[in-house]
Structure formats: C-alpha cells, structure tokens
C-alpha cells in the first residue's frame, strides 16, 4: 500500500514521516520516531499503556491512525521533563515508589498530567476513576494515587 506523508508536532518539535494508512499512531511513534515511551499493552484501547495527548486531549495511541496525527499537536511521556528537570508528577512517582516494572508508568503519567491540566483539584475518587483506564499489574495503584494527589496539592500551592 502506498505510504502517506504526515506532518505533525510531537512534544513541541515539528516532525514528518511516511506511513502506511493502516498504521497506528502508536506504531508510528515507536517505529518511525523512535519514541518508545508509549507501550503496547493490548492494542485495543483497554490498558492505557499507549496514552498520549492529541491537541491536549488524552487518547490511546493504539486506537488512532498515524495519518490522523497530521496537523495535530502530540505530547508523549518523552516531552514531560524539561531537559533533565523532571515534571512534578515524575518526581512524585519516584518519591512515592509509585512504580515497579515501570511499563505502565509512561501511560499513567501522561494520563495523570492530562487530569491535572483539566482539573487541578481532583478528589481522590475523581483521580481513581480518571486513572481507571490505565492498568497497572504491579503496584496495586495505592502509591500511584497518593503520588497524583500529592502532586496536585503541590502544584496548586505553587501556582
């Protein structure tokens, strides 16, 4: 199948790639742009490991086609830190040991960041339900939720 040309912005950089119209955004990010932070946990929109934002909206990149990214603004986990300066969520995840194998972590962080952008003061209930789309088989979620709630409190104080 002939390849299509896609121009998009990823983590603030404009990028271009050629892709088969059937390829998912997830595969394009991983295989063409070498951004392997987003993972394939299921490929069917059920695990959240592939979470990215598109024009600020949280999506499963396994459910979106690469060609649909044309002209959009994509953000992945690789764009969260400013250079070596970690995002507050990243710092708290480390501080709280909110990760074990770490494979769900990029998706969880992207989703948590999207939550705090939308709602800087979530209740614990809201945080748990927001993150219910991100499976984690290792941690039991407790430290993840605590880290998110604590980051939210810190960020509110800072702003």
């Amino acid at each position: 199948m002939s390849k299509l040309h896609v121009s998009t912005t990823v983590n603030g950089d404009s990028v271009e790639f050629l892709c088969d119209p059937r390829e998912t955004l997830l595969d394009c990010l991983r295989d063409k742009l070498n951004l392997t932070g987003a993972k394939e946990g299921c490929g069917t929109g059920d695990c959240g490991a592939c979470s990215v934002t598109v024009d600020g909206r949280l999506v499963c990149s396994c459910l979106m086609l690469g060609v649909e990214a044309d002209g959009k603004d994509i953000a992945t986990v690789e764009g969260m830190a400013e250079g070596e300066e970690l995002h507050p969520l990243q710092q708290k995840f480390i501080e709280y040991a909110a990760l074990q194998c770490g494979i769900c972590t990029p998706g969880v962080l992207v989703a948590a960041k999207a939550l705090l952008e939308k709602n800087p003061d979530p209740t614990e209930e809201e945080a748990r339900y927001w993150l219910a789309g991100n499976l984690c088989r290792c941690t039991g979620y407790d430290k993840i939720i605590r880290a998110v709630m604590d980051t939210a409190a810190d960020m509110r104080e800072a702003s």
Partner: protein
C-alpha cells in the same frame, strides 16, 4: 560515628528503584524497545481453532503466498529436538506433528517483513484434522478417564480414619477455585540475532534465562555454549514468564538461524493470553472432622488441578498446593492428595504463589465451614487451630514450624484494625440494612520459602571493580519490577561501604552467570543477594591481605567505611585504594555462589524440610455488597506483613500492596471462561478484568511487621516478599462470604466459589435466601 552515616543506598534503606528515573521519562528499554538491526524479520504464530483433534495436514500455500511473507516454520523445521518441556518430559512440542491438544495451540509460525504482514498471513492456513471429544476442566477430565500429566503427590501424617469415627462433627464439601491470567502489561517477546557458527543471541523477557538458553540449544540441536540469552528488564512476570517464553525464544532462534537475519516475535494480547499458560484452576474436595470448640481433628483433602495438555510446571505447582493446604493450621491427622489432570486447555504454569494460594484458600474455606457450623467468629476458629503449643507444630510434610509469629502478628492487626468492634458494628448494620450488607474478615498466611526442587536453591553473581573504583554487578536473577537489582546493589554498597551510585547493575545474561535458577519462588533476593555478597567477600579478603602486606597493619585494622578504606591510621578514598590495589596486581573480580542450607525433601516419602523458613502475614478487609445486583466494593483493608528485617521497606511495601491487589483480583473479578468448543473467551483486557485504580480499597493501611527478624541466616535477616502477600487477598473473599452469609443469619457457610464475581455473589445470596 555510625558506619552508614555518609553512605548512600545501603541495606535496610528506602532506596528508589534503580531504573525509576528511566521509568518515569520513558527511557527504560524493554525488549520491544530495542532498535532492530536492518533486515530484521517478524514472526507470528498460526494457531488451532479446535480443542482436540488428530492433525492430518496443514496447507500453508496461501500463507506463503501472502504479501510480505518470507517463509514459514513447522515441526519439520526444528533442527534439534521438537520439545520445550521444562521438566524434560518430552510432552510439549514447539509445533505438534500429529495431535492438536487445545484451542489456540501454536501449529506453525509465519516469518515476514513486517509484524502486520506475518499476523495477517497466519490467518490463511488450511488445517485439516479429525476432531476428537475434549475435556476442559479437571472433573470432566477425570470423568473421561484422562491421565495425570505428571506424578501426583500424597502427604500423610497421623491416621485420619479413627478421628473421622469418633469426632463429634464432620463436614464434607467441594470448592472450585478459578485460574488467573498473569496480564503482565508487557506481553511475551523474543528477538534473536544470528551469529557466526552455531551462535545465536536472544533478547527476551524471561524470568529464567538459563532455561531459555538450554531450550533454544535443545531445539537448535547445538550445545548451550552457542546460545546467549539476555534480559535487561521485564514489564512484569509474576511466573508467566518462567517457562512460557521458551516457545517464543525457540521460534525466534530457529527462524533467525534459518534465514540468517534477526527475527522478532511478539504475539498480540489475545494470542499471548490464549497460547500461554496461567494459574491452575482447582477443584478441592474436603472432609474435615473437628471437636465442639472447632479444633480440627482430621482432614482428608483432594486437589484436582486443570493442568492443560502438558506437564510444564504442574508437578511442583500441585505439590505446593498440598504444602500450603494447612496454611497456618495444625492438622493432627491429615491426608492430602493431588490430581494433576491433563485437560484440553493451554498448559498451566507458574503464577505468584505457585499453587500455594489454592492450598491456602482451601484451608480458609474449612475454617469458615467450622465457624458457621459452631456459630463462632471465624477468627476464633483460626486462632484455635494455629500452629503452636505442645505437639502442635508439625506440618503434613513433617517439617516442624519453628518460626511461627502469627499469634503476635494477628493480635496486632486485630487491634490496629479494630476488628472485633467493627465486626459488631457490621452485624448491627446488617440487621438494619435490607439491601446493602457488609462483611469483614481477618485472615492469616504462612508461606514456605525455597524452591521445592532443592537443586534450584542455588545462585551465582559476578562482581568486578574497575581500576577507577567503579563497580559492576551482575547476578543470575532477573528484574521484573520487584526491585531485585536495587536490593542486591544495596547489599553490595553496604558490604563495600560505598555509595550505591558507584555500582552499575547490568542486564542478566547467560554469558556472565551460568546455570541460574528462575527468578521465582520469591527467592530472587535471598539467593542472588547472598551470591553477590560472597563475591564481595572474596574481593574484600584480597584487599585486606593487600593492605596488611603493604602497610603492615593487622587484618582487623583494615576497615571499609563511608566511601573510604582505613588501613590503620592511613585513610584512602575508595577509588585511590582500588587504584593502588590494581597497581599491586590484586584481582578485582570475583564470581560468588550460594546454596540454601538445611533444606531436603523426599517426595516419595512425602517427608523432609522443603522450606528454609516461613513468611507470615495477615489481612483484614471490609466489604459491602448489594444483594440485588451482587455488586460490591472493598471499604477498607489493613495489612500487616512480615518481611523479616526489610532490605528496602519502600520496595517491600510496594510488593505487599501489589500482591494483595493481585490476590484480590484473582478471587473477585478475574474470571477465565472457556466456551463449549474449548475457546478461551476472556482473552484480553476487554473481557478479562484485573483490578483498576477505582477498585483499590477505599481505606488502605499497609504495614510491615518491623519487629520481625528472620531467625535463619538469610541475607541481612530479611525474608522473601514476592509471593506471600498475594494470599492476603483472601481476606476480601472471606469478607464477601460473611456479607452473603448475613442474609441467612450467619448460620450457613455460603460456599462461594472463586472468583466471587458479582454474578456468583448474587447467586449465593439467592441460594441462601432460598434456604441453602
């Protein structure tokens, strides 16, 4: 001055996971993230769509003709032995030749330019076969006269017959306990790169690199020294990657050698779930005799397991179910038998607890039966039956329980969780609440630590100090999130008294440490930590000799402290000291080794000391059910768990929480369901439900029993942590049971089967309301 004052990341500290920064920035590389060499090919499995059949022919011409396909692999392409049975029983072909034994069984592999092309092409095969009747569960298998996949076990002590005659009470019952899919977020994956001669390097995500190496050698028909297996980290394992990666490694390696190109294989989630093994489902029949106060006098237990088409690890898994059928309780007279049934399903395998949880839950069901029959709080029945007291410390396998701390552990949790008071409040609540009902349960766990295959209890490590003073650490264990590498590095940092940042932890590879055991049975730190310490001790002994000789000090004047080495009055920074040792031609590298002492096991007699020690824990959970829908939620959970002297409390607590939630999932929402044709219908997270962030207990208090210390000489007196807390999830199951029992005045044991899905809870409520 305390020794540790200025050293970062030594033992017993909350050191962060060594990969944490890479994890949060997305820079931690898993196998699928390793850049492929140009020309790499992709493999995909073609599978059966019947559960049991005689295989007549496989027509792959349409597969070969599909776009992008380079070739196919079938049984005929296996250059060595077509078998990947981990126990050497020769019952598990890479690809079958004459029989299909389960729905979804891999029959061939397609090799193509892209994964997508391989995946699409695999659908095009024409399989010609004669379908045979199948048996999916252990009872159907017994009825159909199916054989055992491996030798069963009997544990016996005392004499049950007289007790059954004289005991005032006797109850017989049956419990079905479902299996569980691992649902590691990273699925199976292997990636093989051909080398010169017979050589092949395989990057994969296995908990058992040595076995993968031996299997690849076996199927290729080459010696083990031609095969290297590498694992940097896994995105979860939980036992699912102990033996199951062998298939993927074998396929990738055969294809890589055949086409002389790198080959990667990564099944999609559905194929991962249908083609690889899971936790064993059990059907347990129990017959228990007990006295008026609920003390058990005799128990006869029979454990039939769905093993699948081949043995895989079913022998040791079903053995461990029997080893844990006592949980924390003394059985004066006991007989336990295992029935590892062959079934037409995927071959079941290791999963956190390794059969132990299925044994423990049977013990807890028996306690519940006795509690309802005698009208007592189940916690009182538990306490009445705990090991301890005159002549009450011998297990059914004749090992003496010497380190029991459950009395203290359980009373502490009982107090901190306010169990008694809350139970009264719940009973009062239930009396006034017609629809919503609550339940609470406090359950203990005792778990035996060591591989029951005694020879597995060995480990190796390799430590180098480079002449700039930096340390390279390697050991045979694999990192799957449990923080093993961090803990072993902490042990090395502590022993050398240097900051942990000086230590580089490197990927697990069969090139550095040979003949390793699986990172399993919770043994990773116990074994590899000791082996690393042995290596450190060897290097230190040489360094001490060097200092003694060079500065004329006594050996005990040579002290490693706070990133320095003291030789009498002389003090050197660690780097400078190492530099001098190097110039003096001191060997700065050592291979360490460890084997667990004291353990032995005679399986034919059913006697021995299979476990070096026991780990303990207790959990108290409160739930609320809706009796109109069966839906429920966990209101509060309190955990108190024993990890001896914790090497890293932050990591250990994480293991305890994660294990609890996973155990809760096993017993609540995670239902494996096969249809009549033998097809697994819960084959992806769309249909198979693991706990979500929203399922976490509303209140969740997790504590380590910080006063506990391993009485055995384990690494820094710590205890293993991976598996034991999994069984804390049983408290949720028992609490659900109490909530159900409330609808019939707590007089009938609800006999919930696991998993207690909302549907099952609703059915149990209906059954009890209708009078049992």
């Amino acid at each position: 001055m305390k020794d540790n004052v200025s050293v970062q990341g030594t033992a017993h500290s909350d050191r962060i996971h060594d990969s944490a920064i890479k994890h949060v920035t997305g820079r931690a590389d898993y196998t699928d993230d390793i850049a492929l060499p140009t020309g790499a090919l992709h493999a995909y499995l073609g599978v059966s769509d019947v559960a049991h059949a005689t295989l007549k022919s496989i027509d792959l011409s349409a597969v070969r003709a599909a776009p992008g396909v380079v070739g196919v692999l079938t049984a005929e392409d296996v250059p060595g032995v077509n078998d990947i049975s981990p126990t050497g029983l020769n019952d598990e072909p890479v690809f079958p030749t004459d029989k299909i034994q389960f729905h979804g069984q891999p029959l061939f592999a397609v090799i193509a330019e892209t994964r997508d092309a391989a995946r699409r092409a695999a659908e095009r095969a024409q399989i010609d076969c004669d379908v045979l009747p199948h048996a999916l569960d252990p009872i159907a298998a017994q009825e159909a006269g199916y054989p055992y996949v491996t030798k069963p076990l009997k544990l016996e002590r005392g004499d049950i017959a007289p007790a059954f005659k004289t005991a005032p009470n006797r109850i017989k019952g049956r419990m079905s306990v479902g299996g569980q899919d691992h649902m590691y977020l990273e699925g199976h994956i292997a990636f093989a790169i051909p080398g010169e001669d017979d050589d092949v390097v395989v990057h994969c995500s296995t908990q058992h690199p040595s076995e993968a190496q031996h299997m690849v050698a076996h199927v290729l028909g080459v010696p083990s020294n031609a095969v290297v297996v590498n694992v940097r980290r896994m995105g979860g394992g939980f036992g699912g990657k102990e033996s199951q990666m062998n298939l993927f490694c074998a396929v990738a390696a055969i294809a890589a050698k055949k086409w002389n190109r790198a080959v990667k294989i990564r099944p999609d989630r559905d194929q991962d779930m249908t083609a690889t093994g899971k936790r064993h489902d059990f059907v347990i029949d129990y017959d228990v005799a007990f006295d008026e106060v609920g003390r058990i006098q005799a128990l006869d237990g029979s454990f039939a397991a769905r093993c699948g088409f081949s043995a895989d690890l079913s022998g040791p898994v079903t053995d461990r179910a029997l080893f844990h059928a006592d949980n924390a309780y003394f059985y004066p007279n006991v007989r336990l038998t295992s029935h590892p049934m062959k079934t037409n399903t995927v071959s079941n395998t290791a999963f956190r607890g390794f059969g132990g949880p299925q044994g423990v839950i049977a013990a807890e069901r028996i306690i519940e039966e006795i509690a309802y029959a005698t009208g007592q709080d189940p916690l009182d029945v538990r306490k009445a039956n705990f090991y301890g007291g005159e002549g009450r410390d011998l297990t059914p396998y004749h090992q003496t329980v010497e380190d029991n701390i459950l009395d203290r552990l359980v009373s502490e949790l009982e107090d901190s969780a306010e169990y008694r008071q809350r139970r009264q409040e719940i009973i009062a609540f239930n009396a006034d609440s017609p629809v919503l009902k609550k339940g609470i349960a406090l359950t203990p766990v005792k778990f035996g630590i060591s591989f029951t295959a005694t020879w597995y209890n060995q480990a190796g490590a390799l430590v180098h100090i480079y002449n700039d003073g930096s340390i390279h650490l390697n050991h045979g264990g694999t990192e799957m999130g449990q923080g093993l590498n961090t803990k072993v590095a902490q042990i090395v940092a502590e022993a050398f008294q240097v900051d942990i940042d000086r230590i580089k932890i490197t990927k697990t590879t069969t090139e550095k440490v040979p003949n390793t055991s699986a990172t399993a049975a919770s043994s990773g730190t116990d074994l590899n930590g000791m082996a690393a310490l042995d290596a450190v001790r060897q290097i230190q002994a040489r360094l001490v000799d060097f200092a003694v000789e060079t500065w004329g000090v006594a050996p005990d004047e040579v002290v490693f402290r706070a990133n320095e080495v003291h030789a009498g009055a002389q003090v050197f920074p660690f780097d400078a000291f190492i530099k001098q040792a190097y110039l003096a031609r001191i060997q700065l590298s050592a291979a360490g080794f460890y084997k667990t002492p004291k353990i032995h096991w005679d399986r034919d007699k059913g006697q021995g000391r299979p476990f070096y020690y026991f780990s303990y824990g207790a959990a108290c959970s409160e739930v609320m059910i809706d009796t109109l829908t069966g839906e429920y939620r966990v209101e509060r959970t309190d955990l108190l768990h024993d990890v001896g002297r914790s090497l890293n409390p932050a990591l250990d607590k994480g293991q305890v929480e994660g294990a609890f939630v996973q155990g809760m999932g096993w017993l609540t929402t995670e239902e494996l369901w096969w249809d009549d044709t033998g097809r697994l219908r819960t084959h992806a997270p769309s249909t198979y439900k693991i706990p979500l962030a929203s399922d976490r207990p509303r209140i969740f208090n997790v504590n380590l029993a910080d006063w506990s210390e391993n009485r055995e000489l384990t690494i820094k007196r710590s205890k293993a942590v991976g598996e034991p807390p999994f069984m804390l999830g049983i408290s949720v199951f028992e609490a659900l049971s109490m909530a159900v029992a409330s609808v019939a005045g707590y007089t009938t044991c609800p006999r919930l089967d696991a998993p207690a899905t909302p549907e099952r809870v609703l059915m149990a409520v209906t059954r009890l309301r209708d009078g049992g």
